[in-house]
Symmetry: C2
Subunit: 150 residues, 2 copies
Amino acid sequence: MFTPRPIGFLKTPYTGTKAIPKGLGARHDAEGVVEVLAEFEAGLTDVDGFSHLFLIWVFDRSQGFDLIGTPPCDDRAHGVFATRSPRRPNPIGLTVVELLRREGRFLHVRGVDMLDGTPVLDIKPYLSSVPENTLRRGWLSEVEQRKPRS
Amino acid sequence: MFTPRPIGFLKTPYTGTKAIPKGLGARHDAEGVVEVLAEFEAGLTDVDGFSHLFLIWVFDRSQGFDLIGTPPCDDRAHGVFATRSPRRPNPIGLTVVELLRREGRFLHVRGVDMLDGTPVLDIKPYLSSVPENTLRRGWLSEVEQRKPRS
């Protein structure tokens, strides 16, 4: 395996987990900044050309994990690998963000949903999408049918 | 930070990196199996309802990293965070796969692009796509314009 090390940290508007929009119809249009450490700045070369990026980051204020848990938008329990719960065997988060602009080692992005100060492990280009009409979203679709989006 | 531990391992058709389709127009329709360790099987509850999953895994046979490198499909160098190179500061891989079926702790999936025996760190549901018409793909689009997909 390997020893994770931060390649940077996230500036986001969220200082507590309660403030992060969750559940059905949650809009993730909050803006934030990925502050890449100076020693890794060269790795950002040409990242500017991509409209969207994957951020892989650490739930650094989450402790332990639950294999089964009840997400905030449902009253039924689901397996951790069928949810985005922070309490995971490896506390790794994944977020797709829109790249608004790059200023040196600072990436201004839209769509952050993690706490301010979150360590970033990796940035990858978002290359293609699964066509929406082929997606099935399991228990989440069932919840949406019971509680229409507001 | 945290100490990564495998939640399972991947069975794929690829025993060497040369065999993995790479570059432009690479089709990733190879089938494989995520073998989740028995101790984590309960975490798969309800995963069956999702058509697509994110697999987060480890480039366990990659050593070291390059901040700038030349991908197989281009003759120009790019920053590691603008490519899918295995030589990353944190050797983490990310693949979207289609879930074909679940048999207990075994997930049969399509779209694997990693070596046989690769350790898996996390599985997450794929919930929504960025609309294709809003995607910009930087240097990759430039390469495609020079060398049309076959």
